[in-house]
């Protein structure tokens, strides 16, 4: 299991809430720290890739496990 500093449970939330909640969480974190997001919205896979490219917060990992999607975002 990869290391992270903070976790956000966005399970059950639909577009665009996982992205908006992640943005909010990242706003409270220090640069270089890692946020793990757990979501059930299948659309969030592509959305977090696009979010990462546009904001510069690196997407270190994105994978599915038992119907849930896990993301690691490193705050830029």
């Amino acid at each position: 299991m990869a290391e992270f500093d903070q976790e956000l449970d966005a399970c059950g939330l639909n577009c665009p809430l996982p992205i908006l909640r992640a943005k909010k969480a990242l706003g409270t974190m220090d640069s270089g720290n890692v946020l793990r997001v757990i979501a059930t919205d299948a659309g969030s896979v592509k959305d977090f890739e696009a979010f990462s490219r546009q904001t510069g917060n690196a997407l270190l990992d994105s994978h599915e496990e038992d119907g849930k999607f896990y993301f690691l975002l490193k705050k830029s």
Binding site: G12, N14, L17, T40
Partner: protein, 161 residues
């Protein structure tokens, strides 16, 4: 605001529950990915700036709208004009949205305000429909076509909703 910050300019003209989503979703997400975003609310779109929105969907004249129990297939179109139908369908839609984890319009609007999306009420339609300033939320500005165009002229994305 940096010079090269992307900009999103939206015009919101509709005041129903379904049409309230596109402008608030796009603007809040744009702000989250670093855009400067502005929404210009005109005509029925002004309903989206009311303190108490109480938005409804209209099943009448909307054959593309899925209805519970496949009603869109067998329920007579004129039947959707019956008293109470609009309120009932709106209630069912809100319930469905909640159960699917879709944000409420109020929540998305709050996020827009928090993330400094500029909300502009069209002065002409505010006057036309006799909207009272106290019926609208505090976090808005008023302006006209020239106000919108000044920002939209510099925008990377500009949409009419």
């Amino acid at each position: 605001m940096s010079e090269n910050q992307k900009k999103l300019a939206l015009i919101a003209t509709k005041g129903t529950l379904d049409w309230a989503y596109p402008p608030f979703i796009l603007a809040s997400t744009a702000a989250a990915v670093g855009y400067e975003a502005q929404i210009f609310f005109t005509f029925y779109g002004l309903n989206l700036l009311k303190k108490k929105m109480d938005l409804k969907i209209s099943p009448l004249g909307n054959p593309g709208m899925p209805m519970p129990m496949g009603m869109d297939k067998w329920f007579p179109t004129l039947g959707t004009a019956l008293p109470g139908m609009e309120a009932m369908m709106s209630g069912m839609m809100k319930q469905k949205m909640k159960s699917k984890g879709v944000a409420s319009v109020e929540e998305l609007r709050d996020i827009c305000i928090e993330s400094e999306v500029k909300l502009i009420a069209c002065q002409m339609t505010v006057d036309l429909f006799d909207f009272k300033r106290e019926d609208l939320i505090d976090d808005i500005e008023t302006g006209g076509a020239a106000t919108f165009l000044e920002f939209a002229g510099e925008a990377d994305v500009s949409l009419f909703v």
